[in-house]
């Protein structure tokens, strides 16, 4: 098998994952996109392991560790998402702006006022926080 096929597949999957992380607003969907990116990395690891004919199987073992760390990451990440949902009543990443500066917060408040219909719950939680 040509090495180009797995590496190009990994590049495409990684780009799709990047698009999901940047474009999605729901935190759970962002976690899913991160999983796609981690899988793309794993394809690369295994392909290069087979190409280099590594008898120690370093690529495969590293891929195993990536899967284990991804499982841990999803567990902790979902716990954080649930905590955010419990305190803010929303998992909309665009409306979680408590860490922004005052100017940005003003602009976001205006945005939230304009977009009340699309994220009524998120805007309501924001108004409560302020």
């Amino acid at each position: 098998m040509h090495l180009v096929y797995p590496t190009v597949l990994a590049a495409l999957l990684f780009a799709i994952g990047v698009y999901g992380v940047l474009a999605r607003r729901n935190a759970v969907l962002v976690l899913m996109s991160i999983e796609i990116m981690l899988n793309a990395v794993n394809i690369n690891l295994i392909a290069f392991n087979a190409w280099l004919q590594d008898t120690l199987l370093a690529g495969q073992i590293f891929g195993l560790f990536v899967i284990a760390v991804a499982a841990a990451e999803v567990g902790v990440g979902l716990a954080i998402v649930l905590l955010i949902y419990r305190t803010n009543e929303t998992v909309d990443i665009d409306s979680l702006t408590e860490l922004g500066d005052a100017q940005g917060a003003q602009r976001d408040a205006q945005l939230a006022q304009r977009g009340v219909d699309r994220s009524a719950a998120g805007a309501g939680a924001e108004a409560q926080v302020r």
């Binding site: 590049a11 780009a15 004919q53 495969q60 990451e73 716990a79 649930l82």
Partner: protein, 181 residues
């Protein structure tokens, strides 16, 4: 590794390459659906298809143990965990238009540029590289197991400690503290 001269051209396609390309097609198409579908639950179910296709491509690259680990851990537990997350955050189950942010055009530009750059780089760098799969037999579950427990025993144990720490961390984070203290 130095198979540049001996590598067959791209015209004579092997059966493994055909299967790998089909699996890759399924993986890419379902991944696109994961990041574009309007339904949260459908996104999780399309993620199952993506992960299964990636597991199949692991199999085609001789990593049989990792393929089954992928099926067990990713499809078996991570997707179930994500579905729990969807349910517990009361995400709108029906189709909704508000799942994508305002910056989806910018995200599309960034992702296209990144994917194009990476794919061009990979094609340019590894055009002549060829994986000799028939020669590479030391990759079954037996070899993987002995590699883990002989050469990588310490990192393996560290990973189990990491999983324990993540377990305790998520319990502490998701515990309801209102009644306590």
């Amino acid at each position: 590794m130095t198979l540049a001269q001996a590598a067959p051209g791209y015209a004579d396609v092997t059966a493994q390459e055909v299967i790998f390309l089909l699996l890759g097609l399924v993986a890419v198409a379902s991944a696109v659906l994961v990041v574009t579908t309007k339904n949260v639950v459908h996104a999780a179910l399309w993620l199952v298809v993506t992960l299964a296709a990636v597991a199949g491509s692991y199999l085609m690259l001789t990593a049989e143990f990792l393929a089954w680990v992928q099926v067990l851990i990713y499809i078996g537990s991570v997707v179930v965990l994500l579905l729990f997350g969807i349910m517990l955050t009361k995400a709108p189950i029906g189709g909704t238009a508000g799942l994508d942010g305002e910056n989806r055009v910018a995200a599309g530009i960034v992702a296209t540029a990144l994917g194009g750059t990476l794919a061009t780089l990979m094609i340019d760098a590894f055009r002549h590289a060829y994986i000799d799969l028939d020669d590479f037999t030391a990759s079954g579950a037996e070899e993987t197991g002995s590699a883990i427990f002989q050469h990588y025993v310490l990192p393996f144990e560290v990973v189990s400690v990491l999983l324990l720490a993540a377990l305790i961390g998520s319990i502490v984070l998701s515990r309801n503290d209102e009644g306590g203290r």
